[in-house]
Every structure is written in C-alpha cells, then in structure tokens.
Amino acid sequence: MHTDDDHDHSELSDTQLRVRALETILTEKGYIDPAVLDGIIEHYETKTGPHIGARAIARAWVDPQFKAALLEDATKAIAALGVGVGDHLIAVENTPAQHHMVVCTLCSCYPWDVLGLPPVWYKSAPYRSRAVMDPRGVLADFGVTLPTDTEVRVWDSTAETRFIVVPQRPAGTDGWSEERLATLVTRDCMIGMGLPRTPAKATP
C-alpha cells in the first residue's frame, strides 16, 4: 500500500477529506468495516491482474480444444483452469482479417476478473470518445498500425457482458511452452489496444 498522499495530514485535499468523511460516516453507522476495506484493497493490489487473462490466452495458443471452449463460453473455460471468473465473459479472436478492440463509451466497463483494474487511459475521455469512431487513430496513439485491409471490430461494453481479445500468436514461437508464451501477452493486447510482444521483445 502506498501512502504518498498521507504523509502530511495538514495538507489534505478536499477529495481526501471527503473520502475520509464518507468512510467515517459509513463506519459509524455500521454499514462498512474499515478492516474489511483493507482486505478488499489487498485483493485488488495483489491478486487480480492481467496475468490471469494472459494465462488463458497462452493456453488457447497451444491447445485448440481450449481455444474452442474459450470462444464458446469464456467464463466456463477459464473456470476450468481453476480461476474463478464472473459470468458473461466473452472471448473474441483476432485473425489476419479482423482485429477486435474493446471500449466502454458510457462508463468504464472492463473485465476485472481477468485483467484486473483498468488502466487510466481506458477510462479516459479520449479513449471512450474516439475508439468507436476512429479506432485506427487511437491505435496510432499507441504506435500500433494494422494492415489497411484488416477489418476493425469495436465492442462497446454497454451491458454486463465483458470482453477479452484473443490476439494472434506471434510468429517465431513454435515449440514455446505455455508459460513462456504468456510472457508475450500484454494487457493492452487483450483489450485490442496493442499486439502481443514479439519473441525478440520477450521479457525473460
């Protein structure tokens, strides 16, 4: 837990004061328990994250049966890996003909169970406003260029369905183990806002 904003209590911002006030009131009224809040925070800081999604993607790359199951019902398929995932998760597969991207234009819906908490850019007005209209421009902001004839399919998460992109397996990875492949799977490529790392850029 970082406490960079807690060092000097005499300089609390209006937001910090309001958060503190709300927590105090909700606690005094018996609706919440601060010690439980600590446990919730620990969960999001240490347990969830894109490593869960990356594991499923790497498995899909090496196991065609698992990939088929993932595309059929991602909640069920990932649960079979021993990872609990909430309902209504949908996996969509990138191909040379079609690239998928995920956005939530209305708020910031995101597959927390498999990717952890969303990055700031995913929740930002530039991404939410532009992804559905100019996805190639948005990709260019991150230095990603797709072939001009690849169809770009944008999924706007307007309900409780959640989406994870199954990127194309990078070339030059024949014979790689599932664990090694997982190191190529970035969070951004599972949102469709990037491509997996290439073997040359793999982190050991």
């Binding site: 970082h2 406490t3 960079d4 904003d5 937001t15 910090q16 309001r18 958060v19 006030a21 709300l22 105090t24 009131i25 909700l26 005094e28 009224k29 018996g30 609706y31 919440i32 328990d33 439980v36 809040l37 446990g39 919730i40 925070i41 999001y44 800081e45 609990g84 995932v85 309902d87 209504h88 234009t105 209305l106 708020c107 927390w112 169970d113 908490l117 700031v120 850019w121 929740k123 007005a125 530039p126 939410r128 406003s129 532009r130 559905v132 209209m133 996805p135 190639r136 902001d141 001009t148 169809e151 770009v152 399919r153 944008v154 706007d156 307007t158 309900a159 409780e160 369905t161 959640r162």
Partner: protein, 218 residues
C-alpha cells in the same frame, strides 16, 4: 439521459496517453473509494446500475473535471443520501449524527475469503426472444431523461443481430424504481458508415450490447 458520460463519437478530448504510473491506485484515497463501493454494494444499499446513474447525474462540468475515482466518490455521496443511509448534514460534519439504518448485510472479514468474481445478471425470461442471429434490426430513437444503456451514436441505426446473450436485468427499469424487468440482450453490429457517414473508416464495424426494448425489426 443525454449526458456528457455518453462520449462515443465526441471530438476534442485529444490523444490517448499511456499511463505514466501503472499501479492500480495512484493514491490511498482511490483505494478507499473502490473498497467502500464494494462493501456498500455488498450491503445491497444500491446496485451497479444505480451507481452508474448517480455518476451520470452529476453536473456535466463536475463530471468532466473529475477523475474516475472522484466520480465514484460523488456517486456514492449522492446515492447514500438518496437511499437515506446518511444525511447531508453528516457529510458536512464529517461524522454520523444519527444511528444507522438497517442494511441487508454487512461485509465481514469472512467474506474476503470468498471469490471476488462478478455476480450473474442473467434472469429467467418472461417471453421468447424476439430476435435471432442474422435478423436486421433498427435501434429505437429514444431520448429518456433517465438512465439508459443505448448510446446516442447508436440510436435510430440499422444493424445486424449477431448473438443472443441471454436475458438480463434491465438497467433502464432498475434505476427508475420499476424493478429488474429482465430483457433479452443482443450483440448488434453496425457498419461504420451507418454510424458515422460516408467518410467513416470502410473497415470499421462497431457492436453494442442492446436490450430488446432498444430494438425494432428493420
């Protein structure tokens, strides 16, 4: 409601910038806000649709100026007062001035051991699905002043039903106090030109997740 939260297709917000700091929380208070939201939802004080609605109803200037977790904070303050859990004078005082009301349940340390996965929004259907994959549909041109999940850019547009996603809690109904009123949910895909006109990226398709009341046969 036609609020500033409905951002799809707006101009002027600039480039998407990668995060300079990839930590899940950038300040302690952000983590407290997220955790409070989880705990108070566990108490069934309000649901996810009500959370979104409370955020969307913030004045547009406030919404746009606020960060993600600041919006959550505003939404929680609004909801807690509206649901009668706390009073405005308590927010001003920074302390409870009256005893709490009873809530459905309070999250304890024992609950932390249970999975944090999302619950199911599936509900038994009251009728057969009206559409099937391959059907041409048109989204209705609706402009409710209350919460809806049909974005403005996708209203009155012709698209194709790609998948039926089951029958789900209908946010538009929950938030207006009319209960879950479960509705069939569909993935409806639109051609980029249908949404953005002749100059749209010719390789673009966009889908939304559309509840049945948003759709009519094309």
């Amino acid at each position: 409601m036609n609020g500033v939260h409905d951002m799809g297709g707006m101009h002027g917000f600039g480039k998407v910038a990668p995060d300079a700091d990839e930590r899940p929380f950038h300040a302690t208070w952000e983590a407290r806000v997220l955790a409070m939201q989880r705990a108070i939802r566990f108490a069934r004080a309000w649901n996810i649709d009500m959370s979104r609605d409370a955020i969307e109803r913030q004045p547009p200037q406030r919404y746009l100026a606020a960060s993600y977790y600041e919006r959550w904070l505003m939404g929680m303050e609004t909801s807690a007062v509206e649901k009668g859990l706390i009073d405005p004078d308590e927010i001003a005082a920074g302390h409870a001035l009256r005893p709490g009301k009873s809530v459905a349940r309070v999250m304890t340390k024992d609950d932390l051991g249970r999975p944090f996965t999302r619950g199911s929004f599936s509900r038994p259907p009251g009728h057969e699905a009206r559409f099937k994959p391959g059907d041409r549909v048109r989204t209705r041109n609706i402009n409710p002043a209350t919460h809806t999940r049909l974005p403005r850019y996708a209203r009155g547009r012709e698209g194709l039903v790609e998948a039926v996603r089951g029958c789900h809690v209908f946010p538009d109904s929950v938030v207006t106090g009319h209960g879950e009123d479960p509705q069939w949910l569909y993935t409806v895909v639109f051609n980029g030109r249908q949404l953005w006109g002749a100059n749209a990226d010719p390789t673009l398709t966009v889908s939304i997740e559309a509840f049945e009341p948003y759709l009519e046969p094309a």
